[in-house]
């Protein structure tokens, strides 16, 4: 029987890894990821999880050890944040290129020097070109569920790509919420033991990684796997919902989008607040909807095009910066703009920067943003295409 307990996001993530029966953990502590790996260390020490925990001396080694373990046939797990993710950058390219289905939680934290220990999405979004599937989680329950889904997606032989469940430090990692812990036997039925069809380092039956073929072919294969992942993510989410009763709408979650003229797009923890704001505007008769961008890689192009066809204005709320990017946009808005480009009639595209360096994203801020997007939908034009919301005088 599943049990429900109050726990922080990091502990929920540890439960996710435990339920997935990870066999090798290699990790290095960094705020705000630390409680995740110390929870895992305790589970292993208590004998609740049969796994080897390699206490490495840095994040670069953490992911390298995870690669070795995965190639040798073990389900492997790690997690990091911010500077730690940047420190392992060289190795981050290895699991996709070597088609190793590892899972690594990125507990988002802003990057120094213009950052704090608190979250924005730059650390994980910087990795968007490396071949990792990235799933942004809103709360602890979604983190736990996404780790289980993550292994199922990664280890699917149509995919063989690593998965990064991303969630914001403190806001998700250190906030206690009721978490339903699925029954181990149900998880075992959902997630069979890991077996890689392309690798075996067992000297009795070695299977060398296929080499040869051009570099372009290798990269194209990863792009194709990313395309296939769109369907697999949906499929896995549906199967998960049948077994465990929670469904995350696959690639994107659409909230009150049916007849909407104006849409705001969020990622991660601010989605909860944004839903309340949408309800508020709906009560006032404004046709506003919300899209939660759950999966950033592969990018949900088709889903967003469907939305784009039906609405007059879309505002992308970016919790990241990309200095010098096209039109002064954030990373998310640039991608959304490209997705919408082929449409015959394109909605007005607006971009909002919030919560940089982990500042709180408030109701008044989201209300301000939504007002602007509604106005753009009504007038058919943007007064201001890009706003740094914290630096603006907010609309009353």
């Amino acid at each position: 029987m599943p049990v429900t307990r109050m726990m922080e996001g990091n502990e929920a993530a540890a439960y996710g890894a435990k339920l997935a029966r990870v066999e090798v953990v290699a990790a290095y502590p960094i705020t705000p990821q630390t409680e995740l790996i110390s929870s895992l260390a305790e589970m292993i020490a208590r004998g609740e999880l049969k796994a080897e925990y390699i206490k490495v001396e840095g994040e670069h080694s953490a992911l390298a050890a995870v690669c070795g373990a995965s190639a040798a046939g073990a389900r492997a797990f790690t997690a990091s944040s911010s500077q730690g993710i940047l420190f392992m950058e060289e190795i981050i390219w290895m699991p996709p290129g070597m088609r190793l289905p590892v899972v690594m939680c990125i507990v988002n934290r802003s990057v120094a020097p213009l950052g704090t220990l608190r979250p924005d999405h730059n650390d994980s979004l910087l990795q968007r070109d490396t071949g990792w599937i990235q799933i942004y989680c809103e709360d602890g329950q979604e983190v736990l569920d996404t780790i289980l889904q993550g292994y199922k997606i990664a280890e699917d032989k149509r995919i063989y790509l690593p998965v990064a469940p991303c969630y914001e430090g403190y806001v998700v990692s250190a906030t206690a919420t009721p978490i339903e812990i699925p029954d181990q036997s149900d998880v075992d039925a959902f997630l069979p033991p890991y077996k890689h069809e392309l690798y075996s380092l067992d000297p009795a039956a070695p299977k060398p990684r296929r080499r040869g073929g051009s570099i372009a072919q290798g990269r194209y294969d990863i792009c194709q796997a990313m395309e296939r992942a769109k369907g697999v993510i949906e499929e896995v989410d549906k199967e998960y919902s049948k077994r465990f009763g929670r469904y995350y709408d696959g690639m994107i979650e659409k909230y009150r989008c049916e007849d909407a003229d104006a849409i705001i797009v969020t990622m991660g923890s601010i989605t909860g607040t944004a839903r309340d704001i949408v309800d508020e505007f709906r009560e006032n008769g404004k046709k506003v909807g919300l899209v939660k961008l759950r999966v950033f890689r592969p990018f949900p192009t088709e889903e967003l095009q469907e939305i784009g066809k039906k609405v007059r204005a879309i505002g992308f709320i970016d919790r990241n910066t990309s200095y010098g990017a096209v039109a002064g946009n954030g990373i998310g808005c640039v991608e959304l703009g490209r997705a919408l480009y082929p449409l015959k009639e394109r909605p007005v595209l607006l971009n909002y920067f919030v919560g940089l360096g982990g500042t709180d994203v408030t109701m008044p801020q989201l209300r301000h943003i939504t007002k602007r997007v509604v106005k753009a939908a009504e007038t058919g034009k943007a007064e201001k295409e890009v706003e740094w919301v914290e630096l603006e005088k907010l609309e009353e």
Partner: protein, 292 residues
């Protein structure tokens, strides 16, 4: 039986295949023959250092590798996977070079040693970054010319075996291709010990050291016989010198190599004096526990 057939029959019994992508007269293939003689088929090879990996494609063992910035850690992951699967019978051999072990992955090697990961870490030391054409590493010896020390290196070779000895690892040894049986014995011994084993073999490089291709083994022998590279092992802290050749002048070793061509007499005398001092200190601690 034709000669080719004889070769085929011979190689069927070996873990190494003929042919390799190394420079002519590289010490690497010679070293690998000895090392693999000390191992068996139940071995996984992890590597990534360029010069050391020139040989990897000729070795009949399952292999995995990342980059030479990841010496040790990937092997630790493999060993952990085997442990959790109850396959600790498999030997995990991590191959690297001097730049990997001594410089870019130094912290990682230290961490593997401290964790006592169940791997053999092999350093094939050609005393510089030879795969990029010969640049100074932390293990380049005093006085040696490299493309980044055109005036000769002003500092001494970093003594990785002694640094790792102070990590309290169960076994480490220095090796040379001039003494094959000593090398094979040490590999066999390492294979039989659980935990972190460190093997350090100096692999002469005719290209980078600038000596005649026919002299690879000779240079190795002179290096050991001049006590520039003494052969010893440290088992549970206790040091044992495994080869005690009659000492020859260090100049006999240096003068064969173009990389030492520009050394002044004074500098050769200096090298001789610190080789002597180090030899004396080594002999002094022989048979004793050096974990201090």
């Amino acid at each position: 039986m034709s000669l080719n057939q004889k070769f085929d029959e011979y190689y069927k019994t070996k873990l190494v295949r003929p042919g390799n992508g190394c420079c002519p007269a590289c010490g690497g293939p010679i070293a690998w023959r000895m090392i693999l003689e000390g191992l068996d088929k139940n071995t996984v090879l992890y590597g990534g250092a360029p010069c050391a990996s020139c040989n990897m494609s000729t070795i009949n063992l399952p292999q995995f590798g990342l980059h030479f910035s990841s010496v040790g850690d990937g092997a630790a992951g493999i060993a952990a996977a085997f442990k959790v699967k109850g396959r600790e019978d498999i030997t995990v051999l991590c191959s690297s070079g001097d730049g990997g072990v001594g410089d870019i992955s130094f912290g990682k090697v230290s961490a593997c040693a401290e964790r006592n990961d169940n791997i053999i870490l092999l350093c094939l030391d050609n005393e510089a970054y030879m795969n990029t054409g010969g640049q100074k590493s932390g293990l380049t010896p005093y006085g040696a010319w490299t493309t980044t020390t055109p005036e000769g290196k002003k500092t001494k070779k970093k003594m990785i075996p002694m640094i790792l000895a102070q990590h309290r690892i169960p076994y480490l040894a220095t090796m040379s291709i001039a003494y094959p049986q000593d090398t094979i014995n040490k590999v066999r011994k390492a294979k039989g010990i659980k935990g972190f084993k460190y093997l350090h073999l100096v692999m002469p490089c005719p290209t980078g050291w600038r000596f005649q291709e026919s002299k690879t083994v000779e240079v190795s022998r002179l290096m050991v016989n001049s006590w520039t590279w003494p052969l010893y092992e440290v088992e549970n802290g206790v040091l044992k010198i495994t080869m005690k050749p009659k000492q020859i002048p260090v100049d006999d070793y240096l003068k064969l190599q173009g990389r030492f061509r520009n050394l002044a007499k004074q500098e050769i005398a200096e090298i001789q004096s610190f080789v002597d001092e180090e030899r004396n200190r080594l002999v002094e601690v022989e048979g004793k526990n050096i974990w201090i």
